[in-house]
Subunit: 569 residues, 2 copies
């Protein structure tokens, strides 16, 4: 069995979930099983135990899994009638509910040794293949993820084909826990969350500086690329959200207010505001492509249980843009966007980026020729930029094809960030038009695109990616000036003023600590550059530059330092 | 009678309202009168006519007012019993309602010729003194301003003591109508409002540039002044707003959402968020004064009838800051704030600023010594900065004294913008503390301050103040490069790149218009600087700089222009 495919890894992990269930029932026979799927990086099994499991039980269960793996039991699968299945799982209300939900008259059954489970299939051939496993945690869950249902316990773990892969994963996981952005956020005094608003981040001064730098950096690029920034309200009336379709499809995740007895929605997306602005006056073909960008604050409901630092919040800002263009402009626009996406991700030292192109699904809207033109434009733009991509046939939204970008971080994790989504629906829906050169009224194509995606989430991602050691250009405090004695303070002040004139975020350490203490403080604060200033430096008008990692450059002039600043900005 | 006091002007205008009512009843005897007060810049009378008045009627009414003024009728006032008043106004349900609401047994009655009106008094002695009058408009209103009540018609006008004052006012008013920011906003493509969200501005690209410039300018100053920028959620739970007192005192103006069946308020103010952030960890005296700034988006309900462009919106951003300090730091903090306020207002060419200091009211909280220390600090800071101010005894909020700044615009109007508000209440309320140098827990003082106030409103004010001709540094498009023929385009491009390197917002006019046409377009767009580039300029590497007002400077080198840019930025 080829071990490199994602599909096979899913099969292995789903098999590991069965193995975990077998071990659980062997040790705790009164446990009631529910479901045990593979996940992005492992598997879980949700169970209803007679007595709650404790962390200590995980080790016993894992040992038992190894015991059954060593027996190398064949795993078999067969189809049985629902009637028969109901008899087998008569004491398990969850499985009975599952049986009813499965279409048709037959259901799948898998077996390994004495252990049988309801299952649609997809397993390795024998338990002996499930060797490299690790149970990782115990948490609370609910039947079908709904907190009105029975509370369950979730046993999570992972499985790999080789010991080395498992070891790597566990090392990465440990590292990720060490550099959890929530931990770094507290250590570095960047942000906090408060019970008065779960899922709503509070940015402390240093965190806000980072957010501002993220926005300023992109704002400069957007200006160079001919985008125009707009700002639209964060709240608009329900009629608009009904028209855009968000009300019907997304209202469970939206928040609503009453104004003058009429219902308004806090925006979960920025497009309707952009569209109203586009539609504010007649547009000419001369204005196209019209690239309207908005750093738009949105609110989307998330269950309180899944809120997770900056990765999953209820309020976040999207670096949104909506491009209104003619069909024959799509390719150039997409090509420019792809370049921009790569430029931005590389600036943050993400070297490995995976790209997917999702094409026309069955239930699509829009003419065949529009889909073909558009999809070919996307393909061609990717090819011209020499970007390898995965063709995701039929996986586009019903209203247009899409390019998705996934960045790979320093700990080997994938994050879906950038998206470029073509939209044939909203231009129809809101009757968008432009006057073509020959004077006729035409329908523009709309492109939604984001690079960071949620700026909050991207902030969390780069914090972990850099393990808190943010590069010079984005660090909230970039330079700390450390004098050996107070005698060098005038020289430090002079350099500080020069740094300020270059818009560098700098600070003089005015404490009475010895140099070693000052260095230690700056290292704890993760300051990228320390300027060490003694009598020698002062008399020679030079600078000793000490980097965060301890490396030093001595004898730098201000001109040298200035050149280094420009190189790193 | 001294004509310079505001009080006397109010008396004159209230008398003019009576004169208007006299004229109306004389011409349209079946009209039912309601109330006729003086306003900030005139007066109005709300009436219920048998047949709706039209704009044409105003002139007739005004002529009749002059007729009664020429008769110089004495205006008398007496107190009568409510019983008698009920007889006199028996056919006027509005007046009858007013009579019931007046405390005591007696009410006032004024008389001039045959005309009598219910009135508590305060009139000039005879109609002959009401000479310089003008009726200005007809609009809809409701009895007691409540749209569930009877619809009325409002006749508005103004009155002055001298012809010159009236003439000046009418000229200013005409100018203000001409430069109404709503009109300029449309002409200059800066912002719009949409029925999907009344009172919520949509910023077009050029408007958003201005907003960004307003924020960037202040952000730089705040950084220099040791402020630290934060960002807190725009929505927090009701418990917090109950604790802060906003729920009790302000809930009619707040919007609410449900999250997980709990009520959350969209913030009408930014202070509670700042306070939560302050309270997030113990604070040391070493951190004080802690100056936390936030460009905070707030939502406050306004009746739809009073919404007025950017002057009165339902959503706006406050350039807020909350300073947490020790009582002995108040004076220095206030002094620095006063300097900052003046620096900012002068940057926008507001030369005349009125300042008021509001002191302890009767129902105040906080110790006498704290009030005394604080009020003396405010006074002393104003005096040290040589700022003349008006002492508004007893007009402070119950929780602390306040300094208010009013700017006077180019059309002679006053706008209350900056405020510095001391707050002894919230630190108690939220149990704010810091650890003093001797290790004891102490209560900090909190200062709320804003300079622009609402950035939206300030944007509207400067638009009108500059009559649309925004100064170079804040104009959305600062420079337009106009070539005489296409031959100079390479030179224009070179200058454009140089301008961009200085972060100047510039554009090359690529149209095929002749120079005169290009100049006209740039003037209509109100571009501050045009660079006129012909063959002579190109060959000599010089620039002809044409200002918006038509003045020109020729033979400038890039170095000259760069110096001018720095001078004007």
């Amino acid at each position: 069995m080829p071990q490199d495919s994602k599909h096979n890894l899913e099969i292995l992990r789903h098999s590991a979930a069965h193995l975990a269930a077998q071990a659980i029932l062997d040790l705790f026979p009164t446990t009631i099983l529910t479901i045990g799927p593979a996940t992005e990086d492992g598997f879980f099994y949700d169970v209803l135990p007679s007595t709650s499991f404790k962390e200590e039980d995980l080790e016993r269960i894992e040992q038992r899994m190894h015991f059954f793996a060593d027996q190398n039991l064949p795993i078999t699968h067969k189809e049985i009638s629902k009637q028969e299945a109901r008899k087998i799982f008569g004491n398990n209300p969850f499985k009975l509910e599952l049986i009813e939900k499965i279409p048709g008259d037959m259901v799948g059954l898998s077996q390994q040794g004495d252990f049988i489970d309801l299952c649609r299939g997809g397993h390795v051939h024998s338990t002996g293949l499930i060797k490299h496993i690790k149970l990782l945690g115990l948490s609370g869950s609910y039947w079908r993820g709904d907190k009105n249902n029975a509370p369950l316990q979730r046993i999570s773990g992972t499985a790999f084909f080789t010991a080395e892969e498992l070891e790597n994963y566990l090392k990465q996981r440990e590292e990720a826990l060490l550099y959890d952005h929530r931990k770094l956020g507290k250590q570095m005094d960047l942000f906090s969350f408060h019970q008065e608003g779960a899922g709503f981040p509070f940015y402390h001064p240093k965190g806000k500086r980072i957010i501002n730098t993220l926005i300023d950096y992109l704002r400069r690029l957007l200006d160079e690329q001919g985008y125009q920034e707009i700002a639209t309200p964060i709240m608009l009336n329900d009629e608009l959200w009904r028209c855009s379709g968000h009300y019907e499809h997304y209202k469970e995740n939206m928040y609503f207010c009453l104004i003058d007895s009429k219902s308004f929605a806090i925006r979960p997306m920025n497009c309707p505001g952009s569209i109203l602005l586009y539609n504010e006056r007649p547009r000419s073909y001369r204005e196209l492509p019209l690239r309207l960008a908005e750093f738009g604050l949105v609110h989307r409901h998330e269950l309180s249980g899944v809120l997770h630092g900056l990765f999953r919040t209820r309020a976040f800002t999207i670096d949104d843009a909506h491009i209104y263009c003619m069909p024959n402009q799509i390719e150039d626009e997409i090509s420019a966007m792809i370049k921009l996406v790569y430029q931005v991700f590389r600036k943050f030292e993400f070297e490995h980026i995976s790209v997917g192109l999702s094409t026309r699904p069955d239930n699509s809207m829009g003419s065949e020729i529009l889909w073909e033109t558009a999809t070919n434009s996307l393909k061609s733009a990717l090819e011209k930029n020499k970007i390898p991509f995965k063709l995701q046939e039929g996986e586009g939204a019903f209203y247009g094809p899409k390019i998705e970008f996934k960045i790979h971080d320093s700990m080997g994790r994938e994050w879906q960030c950038g998206t470029i989504q073509l939209d044939f629906f909203q231009p129809e829906n809101f009757d968008l038009s432009y006057i073509a050169s020959e004077g006729t009224k035409q329908r523009p194509v709309m492109i939604h695109r984001a690079i960071y995606g949620s700026i909050e989430r991207f902030f969390g991602i780069i914090l972990e990616h850099f393990k808190g050691n943010l590069p010079f250009w984005i660090a909230p405090l970039q330079v700390k000036l450390l004098t050996i004695t107070d005698a060098q303070l005038p020289y430090a002040q002079k350099l500080f003023d020069l740094l300020k004139s270059e818009n560098i975020r700098a600070e003089i350490d005015l404490s009475s600590d010895p140099l070693s203490g000052k260095i230690k403080t700056a290292q704890l604060e993760r300051i990228p550059w320390m300027l060490v200033l003694g009598n020698k430096e002062m008399s020679q008008e030079t600078i000793t530059l000490r980097y965060r990692d301890g490396k030093q450059e001595t004898g730098l002039s201000w001109t040298d330092l200035r050149a280094l600043i420009h190189k790193n900005s």
